[in-house]
């Protein structure tokens, strides 16, 4: 057993290790949650959005996801203290460099949007919090927010585009690597976009219901549920096309695909973690169980946890199994 694990996590052609899989997952989660938050606010929520438990969940998941993923990326550099050079020197042909540009913009716009959504509670806190010691901040911040709120719709569009681009970015990052035929796959960005979106819905539902006591039967929960099923179905379809493309390409691509899903530790992760727990189980639960159970807290916890576990498995599987077979 130790030998199998050792072989699965340590091999000669492995360049990017586990932390990069965590980075890919968290970045997708953040982008996915942001998109869900924007859609919920625009389409579903009536009244002040900040009172909604799912919006609160997005406000926790999206910033923490992006900040932690960037910290992981920086700590993974051999020269972590030189990270600022990535923000000074740019190379437009490098997917990573374009990513650095995008996630700086994304982070800034995300915080602006959250400040607009939570303007009322922020104001209240500045006015009364810490025995009124922050009151001097209230006026300038309020002015900033009311100025920016004039552009709210544009800000939301920009944020949606940046989040969608970041969701696909993690796929482009790996799909340009000609060294590894499994990764050098034009369907990878779309696959990661879908899986990021499904982790975003699942994370938002889970934290909203468990952490912020939002009802599983609210209009927002109904909408998120209805949104989740086609996303998971789409992910399953793209995963099928991803491997279909590899098999039909022949050569090393076929060898890589065959090795990845038919033998060893990562084949188990694929079939059990990615396909069964992450895709088939949530789809089956949503289809088979009676509608009245579908909005219970237990159901939501089981469904979203299995979906999240599936996305984590997918990122680890793609990263490791992808690097096992070289061109």
């Amino acid at each position: 057993m130790n030998d199998i694990l050792n072989g699965a996590f340590h091999f000669e052609s492995l360049v990017w290790h586990g932390p990069i899989a965590a980075y890919l997952f968290l970045l997708g989660l953040s982008a996915g949650a942001t998109l869900i938050g924007l859609l919920l606010k625009r389409r579903v929520i009536q009244g002040p959005a900040w009172k909604n438990g799912f919006i609160k969940a997005v406000a926790v998941i999206a910033p923490i996801g992006i900040v932690v993923s960037l910290l992981i990326l920086i700590l993974h550099l051999t020269k972590p203290l030189a990270f600022w050079k990535l923000m000074i020197y740019y190379n437009v042909t490098s997917v990573m460099s374009v990513g650095v540009m995008m996630f700086q913009l994304y982070t800034a716009v995300l915080f602006v949007w959250l400040a607009l959504v939570f303007a009322d509670p922020i104001n209240q806190f500045l006015d009364l919090g810490l025995q009124g010691r922050l009151r001097w901040l209230a006026r300038p911040i309020d002015r900033c927010v009311s100025f920016l709120s004039r552009f709210e719709l544009s800000i939301e569009w920009v944020l949606a585009l940046l989040a969608a681009a970041l969701g696909a970015y993690t796929g482009f990052l790996l799909s340009v690597l000609k060294t590894y035929p499994l990764l050098n796959n034009p369907w990878l960005p779309l696959l990661f976009f879908f899986s990021g979106l499904s982790s975003g819905v699942a994370g938002t539902l889970l934290l909203g219901v468990v952490g912020f006591k939002e009802s599983g039967d609210s209009p927002s929960a109904h909408w998120a549920h209805a949104f989740e099923k086609p996303i998971i179905f789409g992910e399953l379809v793209v995963l099928g096309i991803f491997f279909g493309w590899l098999f039909l390409s022949g050569g090393r691509a076929e060898v890589a695909a065959l090795a990845a899903i038919t033998s060893g530790f990562w084949a188990v992760v694929f079939w059990v973690g990615v396909v069964f727990v992450g895709l088939l189980l949530p789809l089956a639960l949503q289809t088979i169980l009676p509608a009245k159970w579908q909005h219970s807290v237990t159901f939501i916890v089981v469904l979203t946890s299995s979906s999240l576990l599936g996305v984590v498995s997918l990122r680890y599987f793609i990263l490791y199994a992808g690097q096992m077979t070289v061109y």
């Binding site: 990017w16 550099l77 051999t78 030189a82 020197y89 490098s94 460099s97 650095v100 340009v176």
Partner: protein, 220 residues
């Protein structure tokens, strides 16, 4: 305005002539294009090149810019032979490592065609190591920057000498020179011998040519 056939012909001749000039211009040779040939027929696998490279370029233990990979024994005793394969930077014209580098630390020197790394700009993301289909890059344990063969650009070549591996080869299995100069030895060898390069189908246009040993079975 009317255009006669004669006007049209004159005009189109002018356009065609003007259009031809940039083509002529781009065929002019500017700068060098350093290239290497590894003659696998002449190589005896002594690995003197590996030692010379390490010494001249002060390559730390545990990593190497150049490896000579020995094949399984070919034939049956006493007629046993081996094939030797040089694994090192191919100095591609379209280097994937340079394309992916986020900080521009990996670059291709336009005057020599040599692909090199600026260790100061490198942050150690290792994207280039993953992107190189020839798998010749590593993190230097001293500088913590990505590194690899630079055809001795900063050492021997800067002093007007041949790269260390070429200098040290006892059987002259390594030929080095300017491919843009049709009279150079390397151009002559490539023009007159049957050579091969690896993974050309990836579009990298590598500049490490190889002359296959007669036993066949090229590695790629």
């Amino acid at each position: 305005m009317s255009v006669t056939r004669r006007d049209f012909l004159i005009a189109s001749t002018c356009v065609a002539t003007a259009g031809a000039f940039p083509v002529v211009h781009s065929m002019e040779v500017d700068g060098k294009r350093y290239t290497m040939v590894h003659d696998e027929k002449a190589c005896i696998g002594c690995t003197a090149c590996m030692d010379a490279c390490r010494e001249v370029n002060a390559v730390p233990e545990g990593v190497s810019r150049l490896n000579i990979i020995r094949s399984e024994p070919i034939g049956t005793y006493p007629d046993v032979t081996f094939q030797f394969f040089r694994q090192s930077c191919q100095h591609c014209d379209v280097p994937p490592c340079v394309a992916v580098c986020p900080s521009g630390a990996s670059f291709r020197d336009p005057d020599t065609g040599i692909v090199d790394v600026d260790p100061d700009k490198c942050v150690g993301c290792q994207y280039c190591i993953a992107a190189c289909p020839y798998q010749v890059r590593y993190i230097d344990p001293v500088t913590q920057a990505a590194d690899k063969c630079d055809f001795c650009r900063k050492t021997n070549l800067a002093q007007g000498k041949l790269p260390a591996c070429v200098e040290s080869c006892p059987t002259n299995a390594l030929i080095f020179g300017d491919l843009n100069d049709p009279d150079s030895e390397v151009s002559q060898v490539i023009a007159t011998s049957k050579t091969y390069r690896t993974k050309v189908e990836l579009g990298t246009d590598p500049h490490l040519y190889r002359i296959a040993a007669p036993t066949g079975g090229n590695r790629s």
